[in-house]
């Protein structure tokens, strides 16, 4: 096995294996045959890595297409206009920025039709079709609120009455009467350019109890975005307990890894939580919508090329929690906002898959687990442990090896995986079957603020 083989033939065989093709005739040399066997094993083991999980490739394609320069150039940049006089450029730029802020955080436009959601498993052009035949997809940014989002401790119904804005909420709050219920509502304003491509968040209702959180987020695409195509609401399509169609996504480095999105009229509602996906789907089926009341505030027009425009009303004040420096222009009422705007606790979460293999008295559990910090804080000395049913205690033939303790800042993400074979000889087969069906429990422990914390995540 030192180099007596025909290099060109051998390399051609390797190329074919790497491409997934059958190699030519087996080499005469026994060493070369053994090398090709090794290469075949490598190809068989590594080639499947090119296949991402279902829906991911198509979802990324749609997101990227939505960001292509021609596709998504902001609407105010698409307006044909000459360059303003130098002295006015700063004013125009500032106005454009304000326009963007309102586009991102404004309130309800009227008269748009029911949203269409795209099948994430469907092959095809994504946004490509948007420009060809109108049959493509638009993406919806169903990312969770950032660490800096600030909430008011107020009942959603009261918040809707007070603001007149639209809110989606859970009529029966999760976690029972002990839940902390809070609402975040951006200032209300109208679409200034209804044909622009935009998405806004109307309201976020947060339910908290202990370590668990449920967010109900109400989104609305601009009428132009809604008309252009279908929205990609999640990486896979699911059915809610009430039979309605919904879209699910799981991201471990989000504070709330499981998201289930539904369509309500012209809105998209995302329920996101660290609870199991099935529980999140159950909650998503219970969401109620409070429509906006009263007329929308009059849109603020962007300045035209001469630096003057039909400004009907001043732009809404920027939310005070977005001001990076300087004192607040008006005092914030004591207790009006909960939580600091830019820091917070770590929120370690884990998700994954587990499946059974092997057989007889040597069953096997294969698992893949991702874990990470979706919170704003730093978790020190993070340790992960994989546990099995107590029935299987001491029966692991090859106990899993865990990574050493490490620190995890906001957004950190890591993964482990492996197979564990159990010796179930002498155990009642039914008992063993039930124990294996329990899957694994991932236990995360870490230190935060000098205190040791622990969370367990069952994975079936």
């Amino acid at each position: 096995m030192t180099g007596r083989h025909d290099d060109r033939r051998f390399d051609d065989a390797l190329d074919r294996l790497a491409r997934g093709e059958a190699p030519p005739d087996p080499p005469a040399d026994a060493d070369d045959r053994a090398l090709l066997d090794t290469a075949r094993t490598l190809a068989a083991g590594l080639r499947p890595l090119r296949q991402a999980r279902p829906g991911y490739q198509a979802g990324l394609e749609a997101r990227l297409l939505a960001r292509l320069p021609e596709a998504t150039r902001p609407w105010w940049r698409r307006l044909p206009r000459p360059a303003p006089p130098a002295g006015r450029r700063r004013l125009v730029a500032l106005t454009a920025l304000l326009a963007l802020a309102v586009l991102a955080t404004g309130t309800v436009a009227t008269g748009s039709a029911q949203l269409r959601a795209r099948d994430p498993h469907k092959g095809g052009g994504g946004l490509f079709g948007l420009f060809r035949d109108g049959g493509g997809a638009n993406t919806i940014p169903l990312f969770p609120p950032s660490c800096g989002t600030v909430y008011r401790p107020i009942d959603p119904l009261a918040a809707a009455r007070e603001s007149g804005g639209a809110i989606a909420y859970l009529p029966t709050p999760p976690f029972g009467p002990d839940a902390v219920v809070e609402v975040s509502q951006p200032p209300r304003s109208a679409w200034r350019e209804p044909e622009g491509i935009g998405m806004k968040t109307h309201a976020i209702v947060r339910y908290r109890a202990g370590d668990h959180t449920v967010l109900v987020v109400l989104y609305e695409p601009s009428p132009g975005a809604a008309r252009l195509g279908e929205l990609l609401l999640g990486e896979r399509r699911i059915r809610l307990p009430d039979g309605r169609e919904a879209w699910a996504e799981t991201r471990v480095n989000w504070p709330v890894p499981a998201t289930v999105a539904t369509v309500l009229d012209r809105y998209a509602v995302a329920v996101a939580s660290d609870l199991p996906l099935e529980e999140v789907a159950r909650l998503a089926a219970q969401v109620a919508l409070i429509p906006p009341t009263g007329p929308d505030p009059t849109p603020v027009a962007i300045l035209d090329s001469r630096g003057a425009g039909p400004v009907a009303s001043p732009p809404p004040p920027a939310p005070t929690w977005n001001r990076a420096r300087g004192p607040h222009p008006t005092p914030t009422p004591p207790g009006a906002y909960s939580g600091p705007p830019s820091s917070g606790p770590a929120a370690l979460t884990a998700t994954g898959t587990v499946r059974q293999g092997g057989g007889g008295s040597r069953p096997r559990l294969s698992y893949q687990v991702s874990y990470g910090n979706g919170g704003c804080g730093v978790a020190e000395g993070v340790q992960i442990a994989v546990e099995f049913s107590p029935v299987l205690a001491g029966r692991a033939v090859d106990p899993p090896v865990m990574p050493p303790p490490h620190d995890g800042g906001p957004g950190f993400q890591a993964g482990i995986g492996g197979d564990v074979t159990f010796d179930t000889s002498g155990l009642d087969p039914e008992v063993a079957r039930r124990a294996l069906a329990e899957g694994i429990t991932v236990r995360l422990t870490w230190t935060e603020g000098g205190q040791r914390r622990e969370r367990a995540f069952p994975i079936r």
């Binding site: 090794t38 490598l42 083991g45 590594l46 596709a71 490509f128």
Partner: protein, 166 residues
């Protein structure tokens, strides 16, 4: 432009994702890094005039993104260790006469390869690139690529034989 981008993306995503997944060993992280690579390349991907060069260019971005990732933070999982590489493996499709034991053992042996050899194995078998493409990415000669891949396969075979007591 969108059509051109779509064509390139669909051609490039599988090998790029496979390579990144091989290097980082975690599918979620691989998704994030692959998305980063395409985002960085977005504008030029649709307007590139010499598509034959784009693959090497994109993989260079991917290598930098992976290196940046590991520079930014201490890895939670020691990917150099054999046990860290175990979860790279995907069960081969039914009908492929490859024993899972062989896969598991090879996963461990991969950790014993040098960094460059492992990188070449990733580009060759996880991404399915040709020697010419690998040579362009790593700025090596094709002959050098052939030599390193061959050496790596020989090392892996030896480990197999040693364990089998041959």
């Amino acid at each position: 432009m969108a059509e051109r981008f779509t064509r390139l993306y669909r051609d490039l995503f599988p090998p790029l994702y496979g390579y990144v997944a091989f290097r980082v060993g975690d599918p979620h992280l691989a998704e994030d890094l692959t998305a980063q690579v395409f985002e960085r390349a977005l504008g030029r991907l649709a307007s590139v005039r010499r598509p034959e060069q784009i693959r090497a260019w994109l993989f260079t971005i991917a290598r930098n993104a992976i290196a940046d990732h590991y520079r930014r933070r201490r890895p939670a999982v020691d990917l150099e260790a054999a046990e860290g590489l175990e979860h790279l493996w995907v069960e081969p499709p039914e009908g492929e006469a490859i024993r899972r034991d062989d896969l598991r053992r090879l996963a461990g042996y991969l950790a014993d390869l040098g960094e460059r050899e492992r990188e070449l194995i990733g580009l060759k078998f996880a991404a399915g690139l040709t020697n010419r493409e690998i040579a362009a990415i790593l700025r090596l000669s094709e002959a050098n690529v052939v030599q390193i891949v061959h050496r790596a396969v020989v090392k892996l075979r030896r480990r197999f034989d040693e364990e089998a007591g041959r």
